[in-house]
C-alpha cells in the first residue's frame, strides 16, 4: 500500500499538524519508503495468532476507589501558555 498527496494531507489534518505543499510531497516519499519497508509483514502467516496486548502475563493492579490526590490547581496550570484564575485559556470555540 502507498499513500498519495491527498492522503498525506488528510492524515496530517487528522494529526493536527499543519503541512505546506512541499512538506506534504517530501513526507509522501518518506512515508511510502516506510510503508514499503513494513510491507514485508504481509508474508507472515498470522492465521489463528492472538494480537499481543501485554508482554508479561499480568493482572492489572487496582487501587481503592478513593480520592488520594488533588487540590493542585495552581500546579496544574503553572506551565500553561495562557491561563486565568486556574482556567486554561483557548481561542474561542463556540460562536
Amino acid at each position: 500500500m502507498s499513500v498519495d498527496l491527498a492522503t498525506v494531507k488528510r492524515v496530517a489534518r487528522l494529526a493536527r499538524i499543519a503541512v505546506s505543499q512541499e512538506e506534504a510531497s517530501r513526507m509522501m516519499g518518506e512515508l511510502n519508503g516506510i510503508l514499503g519497508f513494513v510491507e514485508q509483514l504481509s508474508e507472515v502467516n498470522v492465521e489463528g495468532v492472538e494480537p499481543m496486548t501485554s508482554v508479561t502475563p499480568m493482572e492489572m493492579r487496582k487501587r481503592e476507589d478513593v480520592v488520594n490526590d488533588g487540590n493542585k490547581a495552581d500546579d496544574i496550570v503553572a506551565n500553561a501558555p495562557a491561563s486565568d484564575r486556574n482556567f486554561f485559556q483557548v481561542p474561542k470555540v463556540v460562536e
Binding site: 492524515v11 499538524i17 509483514l41 495468532v49 499481543m52
Partner: protein, 493 residues
C-alpha cells in the same frame, strides 16, 4: 581534581565512605569537567550547579551522620525525558518549550532517595525518536570517540546519546536513559559504555515522557557492569502510579557479579547473522562465544525465526502508540503555543512549529496505520507478529537456554550528518535491528563493550535474558567485561 571524575561509582562510594573525599569535592570535579567539555560535546542541555552542590552538601552531612544511602554523593546525569521537579524537562523538543514539571519521576525520586546528586539534564533525540541524537531540538551530541587519526565528529548513537556521551567522557558518574527499540544499548555500544534495558515493568514509567508505552523502559548507562548493577538496583521499584510496574523484590544485582557461568547454556541465534554485516562484528561475536566457553558455559545454536520482522513490526507499533501519546501536545496545557485564527488552526500551527521532522514522520505513520480501513491490515497484524516474536524467545528459553548472545549493533558509530542516513529514514532505523526484538518481547537486554574495530572505535555485544533475570545478565556481562577489558576514549575535547 580531574582524576575524581575517573572514579567508577563503586570506587567513589568507597572513598566517600572512608571520608577520603567529600561529595562536594566530587560534584565540583564533575561540574568543572562539564563546564570545560560541554561546548564541544553538547551532552547536557541544562546544568544545575546550585542544586548539585546543595544535594552534595546534604550527602556529606548524611555520610557524617552515618546515614549514607546506596548512592550517597554520587553525581548523575538525567536524560531530558525524565520529569525533574522545577528543572528543564522537554524531551529535547521545542513543543515542550519552557516546561518545568511540578513533580518528580519515580525513577529519579528513587535515585535521590538513595542519596544521588543531580548534575543536570542530558541531550537526547527528540521524544526519544532516533538512533543518532541528531533529532534533538538542541543539536547533535558528539561522540567522545573518534576514529584513529581522524578529527571527524561521530554520533554517540541514540536516543540516549547525551547519557552515553556524558558517561564515556567522564561528565557524570552514571546516567539515566530509556530504551524503546535500542535507545540504551545502541548508544552504550557506540561509546564503550555499559547499558541495560531491564524487563518491561521493572522500572516505573511514571514521570517519563511517553513515546511508545508498551515498549518504553528506563535503565542506566554506566562505565562498567558493576556500576550499571548499582544504578539499576536504585532505579527499579514497584509503583502505584504505574500499573505496569511489577511487584517483585528488587535483587541485589551487584551480588550477582562473580557468580559462575559454568554450565549455563548460551544461545547463538543464527538469524542475527544479517546480510552485509561487517566482518569485524562477526569476529567480535566469535570472541564473545569463546570467552563464555572458556568460562565453562555451553554454546548452542538457536533459531528465532521471526527476527527479521521485528523492525517492521516496531515501525507500526511504536508510531501508533506515539501518535496517541503525543496528541497531548496541543498548545493548551504546557509548552509552546503558536496562535491561529481558531482553535484547530492553533493546534495545527503549534504542532507544526513544535515537532521536528522525525517526530512528525512518526506521528503521521502512526495516525495512518490507526486510521479507519488500515487498522486491521497494519496495526492488528503487527500485534500478531509481535506475539510470534515473543513466542520465538519463549521457545528458546523453554528449551533450556539461559542467555542469548548477539552483537549489539550492526556497525560502529557513524558520522554526524551521515548523508545516506539523512536521505533514507529506513537506513537509520536499521541501527536497531539487533536490539528491537528485545523490546517487542519485553525482555531484559544488556550491551557490554567487547572490543575496538579497525578504526579504534568501540563495539559491543548484547546479552538477552529471561523476564526478570537481570542478575543472570549482569554476571554473564561481567565475564565478558573481565575478558575484554574496559575501553576509554582519548581526550580531544
Amino acid at each position: 581534581m580531574t582524576e575524581l571524575t575517573r572514579l567508577t561509582i563503586a570506587e567513589a562510594r568507597e572513598k566517600l565512605g572512608a571520608k577520603e573525599i567529600t561529595a562536594v569535592e566530587l560534584t565540583d570535579a564533575y561540574l568543572g569537567a562539564i563546564e570545560a567539555a560541554n561546548g564541544a560535546l553538547n551532552a547536557y542541555v541544562t546544568v544545575t550547579p546550585e542544586k548539585a552542590r546543595e544535594m552534595a552538601k546534604a550527602s556529606d552531612a548524611r555520610i557524617a551522620e552515618g546515614k549514607a544511602g546506596a548512592l550517597e554523593g554520587i553525581p548523575l546525569g538525567i536524560k531530558d525525558l525524565f520529569a525533574t521537579e522545577g528543572v528543564h524537562t522537554q524531551a529535547c523538543s521545542h513543543i515542550l518549550d519552557g516546561f518545568k514539571p511540578k513533580y518528580e519521576s519515580t525513577v529519579t525520586q528513587n535515585l535521590w532517595n538513595d542519596g544521588a546528586v543531580m548534575l543536570g539534564k542530558l541531550n537526547m533525540d527528540e521524544f526519544a525518536m532516533g538512533s543518532s541524537n541528531e533529532s534533538s531540538y538542541y543539536g547533535p551530541v558528539k561522540n567522545p570517540w573518534r576514529a584513529a587519526g581522524s578529527n571527524a565528529d561521530l554520533v554517540p548513537g541514540g536516543s540516549s546519546g547525551g547519557s552515553a556521551a556524558a558517561v564515556a567522557a567522564f561528565l557524570c558518574a552514571g546516567a539515566t536513559a530509556t530504551d524503546t527499540g535500542g535507545s540504551i544499548r545502541q548508544p552504550a555500544a557506540f561509546t564503550g559504555t555499559v547499558g541495560i534495558k531491564p524487563t518491561y515493568g521493572r522500572c516505573s514509567r511514571w514521570g517519563i515522557v511517553a513515546y511508545a508505552s508498551s515498549l518504553d523502559q528506563a535503565g542506566p548507562i554506566a562505565r562498567d557492569v558493576r556500576d550499571a548493577a548499582i544504578l539499576l538496583k536504585s532505579m527499579a521499584s514497584v509503583d502505584d502510579k504505574d500499573t505496569t510496574s511489577v511487584d517483585l523484590p528488587v535483587p541485589d544485582y551487584e551480588a550477582a557479579l562473580g557468580r559462575p557461568v559454568r554450565g549455563m547454556k548460551i544461545g547463538i541465534p543464527k538469524e542475527y547473522r544479517v546480510d552485509g554485516m561487517a566482518a569485524e562484528i562477526e569476529e567480535l561475536w566469535q570472541k564473545g562465544i569463546a570467552w563464555l566457553k572458556d568460562a565453562g558455559a555451553e554454546i548452542v545454536e538457536v533459531s528465532l525465526p521471526h527476527t527479521k520482522y521485528a523492525l517492521p513490526t516496531y515501525y507500526i507499533i511504536s508510531p501508533a502508540e506515539a501518535s496517541s501519546n503525543l496528541a497531548r501536545y496541543d498548545g493548551v496545557r504546557y509548552g509552546l503555543r503558536v496562535p491561529g485564527k481558531d482553535i484547530v488552526e492553533m493546534y495545527e500551527n503549534t504542532r507544526a512549529a513544535g515537532f521536528g521532522k522525525e517526530v512528525k514522520r512518526r506521528i503521521l505513520i502512526g495516525t495512518y496505520v490507526l486510521s479507519a480501513g488500515y487498522y486491521d491490515a497494519y496495526y492488528i497484524r503487527a500485534q500478531k507478529v509481535r506475539t510470534l516474536i515473543k513466542k520465538d524467545f519463549d521457545t528458546v528459553f523453554a528449551a533450556g537456554v539461559d542467555v542469548i548472545l548477539t552483537p549489539a549493533t550492526p556497525s560502529a558509530a557513524f558520522g554526524v550528518a551521515d548523508q545516506d542516513m539523512a536521505a533514507d529514514p529506513v537506513k537509520m532505523y536499521l541501527n536497531d535491528v539487533f536490539t528491537v526484538t528485545v523490546n517487542m518481547a519485553g525482555l531484559p537486554g544488556i550491551a557490554v563493550p567487547a572490543g575496538l574495530d579497525g578504526n579504534g572505535l568501540p563495539l559491543g555485544l548484547q546479552l538477552i535474558g529471561k523476564p526478570f533475570e537481570e542478575e543472570t545478565l549482569f554476571k554473564t556481562a561481567h565475564v565478558i567485561e573481565q575478558a575484554a577489558g574496559r575501553f576509554q576514549p582519548e581526550k580531544w575535547w
